[in-house]
Amino acid sequence: MNKVFISGNHAFGEAAIRAGCSCYFGYPITPQNELGEYMAEHMRAAGGVFIQSESETAAINMVIGAAATGARAMTSSSSPGISLKQEGISFLAGFELPAVIVNVMRGGPGLGNIAPSQGDYFQATRGGGHGDYRTPVFAPASVQEIADLTYHAFDIADRYRTPVMMLSDGMMGQMKEPVVFPEKIKELPKKEWALKGRGDGPSRYMCSLILDVMEMERHNWKLVRKYAEIEKDEVRYEPYLIDDAEIIVIAYGTTARIAKGAIKRVRKDGVRAGMLRPITLWPFPKKALAELSARVKQFVVFEMSTGQMLEDVQIALAGKADIMFHGRPGGVVPTPIEFSRIIYREYQKVTKKDK
């Protein structure tokens, strides 16, 4: 098993190819261009399809077309481009078509900037497009995890017939780390539902237009049952030094890496801090947080946003613990020292209460 030194954006591409993704469609946008470029070079060489589309909208619709035939398909973009894809993501959800969408987030709103940010949490975890649906969201915090989770995302997409989002940011995309890639997949899952022409059998159609409201309602509840299964079985998180922790940080992706540095720093001074890092943002590790709140009464939420995941933490803790939020939106990447100061300050509250 070879270790390779590779950037996050390239790792998304390589992992997808190894997961059997045979169709990639995308449009240039910083800071994820290296992903499309990697696919241009390697997807065609691997016998797959690469198209640089005329827009993000076209790219996601090409994904719909390829996914409808049963192919593993992917697109990628950064925040403004992901907004453009939302129409197509809603259709994927309605059609119940599997696909993987990579978002390498940048500062916003609007055109914003090209620096790392986590401002698209709401959009990613609340469906993002129109209509009643959810999208599983994975938030890698290392290039190795980009490789592993992207590979896994294709399985989740196929198993539940749903679009899956990889929620990353400019730092994750641009950063290089040593990675061991999963083996190339040998056999892809059979997809009886895929359109392949009727042959001698009955014709089929794939549509999201359901004019009969009762039938549309049934379709909505069917999706909900699927989402409930995902919430039950697919939650992922990483506990970090939580066993003896009196203060717990909740952070994901880049912010979680920085928070780890901060926790290591404060631990040297005897501060019993730990972290619960959500790996799936939807489904959110609500249960794990609720359980922690029985013992730990001080939580700190770090985000590179003005407070989006914060709301999920509030829901999960349901008023049973104090939450302090510290956010750096707009493309600012915080430092471990900055986080450690917050942890020190909040920890004092805990120790004062104890006295």
Partner: protein, 250 residues
């Protein structure tokens, strides 16, 4: 000569149409089903439906169909065809779908020379939403959003998208036809057959624009609306082959 009235193999039986009396969609649907049968393509055909009146075409088409978001038909068709080049892929789109909200997808799929066929129904109006101005609405024509008639200074001019894409090297066959008469219907069938054969031969993109009546939204009788296609619409949108590069590539 014996008159034949056979039912096309790839056209569903015993369904009630949702189209208005005098609507052109039913005629073009039948032509499509007949051509698929004659070229033996129905078993491996995938049609991409538009948003618009023909969104329900799968109720009648007896071959595989996927619906598209408004205007995205040729992007979806691109994904299907590139993923499965062995399938026969075509879109069925209206004027609002193809030449307003889907203009970018139309132009770029054409410019890439995707090996797909496009059936473009031009009835100069948004049908399903109740008769608003389309890009193809004629000058002075009244619609619900041009109540005093289309004023080119205010609303712009009728868009000739088939002429636009016909000049692209990647567009192998483009023709405008009208289903305004038995002759027009026969010519339409011939044009659609030519477009489908173009894809079978692996030559590239083809588009057939069909001038088609919408009596409900034109507020005309079916008979008058067919006459209007012949006498008025064809003066703005002249019929004929707009490009034929089949021999070049063949």
């Amino acid at each position: 000569m014996k008159l034949k009235n056979t039912w096309p193999k790839y056209y569903k039986r015993d369904v009630v149409t949702h189209y208005c009396p005098g609507c052109g969609h039913g005629i073009v649907h039948r032509i499509v089903a007949e051509v698929l049968e004659e070229l033996d393509l129905g078993g491996r055909a995938i049609c991409v439906n538009p948003a618009g009146c023909a969104v329900l075409a799968y109720l009648y088409f007896d071959f595989d169909v996927i619906e598209s978001a408004h205007g995205r038909g040729t992007a979806i068709a691109t994904g299907v065809k590139r993923s499965r080049p062995d399938l026969f892929v075509f879109t069925y789109q209206g004027d609002g779908d193809l030449s307003a909200i889907g203009t970018a997808e139309t132009i770029h799929s054409a410019n890439r020379g995707e090996n797909i066929a496009v059936i473009f129904i031009n009835n100069a109006v948004y049908g399903m939403t109740g008769g608003q101005m389309a890009p193809t609405t004629l000058i002075d024509m009244k619609t619900t959003t041009t109540p005093a008639g289309r004023d080119p200074k205010y609303d712009g001019y009728p868009l000739h998208i088939t002429e636009v894409v016909a000049q692209f090297p990647g567009v192998v066959y483009a023709e405008r036809v009208a289903i305004d008469s038995p002759t027009g219907i026969r010519k339409t069938k011939k044009a659609i057959a030519a477009a489908f054969q173009t894809q079978v031969d692996g030559l590239g993109y083809s588009i057939i624009e069909v001038l088609s009546p919408c009596p409900t939204n034109w507020k005309q009788s079916p008979v008058d609306s067919f006459k209007w296609v012949s006498e008025v619409m064809t003066t703005e949108f002249p019929l004929g082959v707009l490009t034929d590069k089949r021999s070049r590539k063949g």
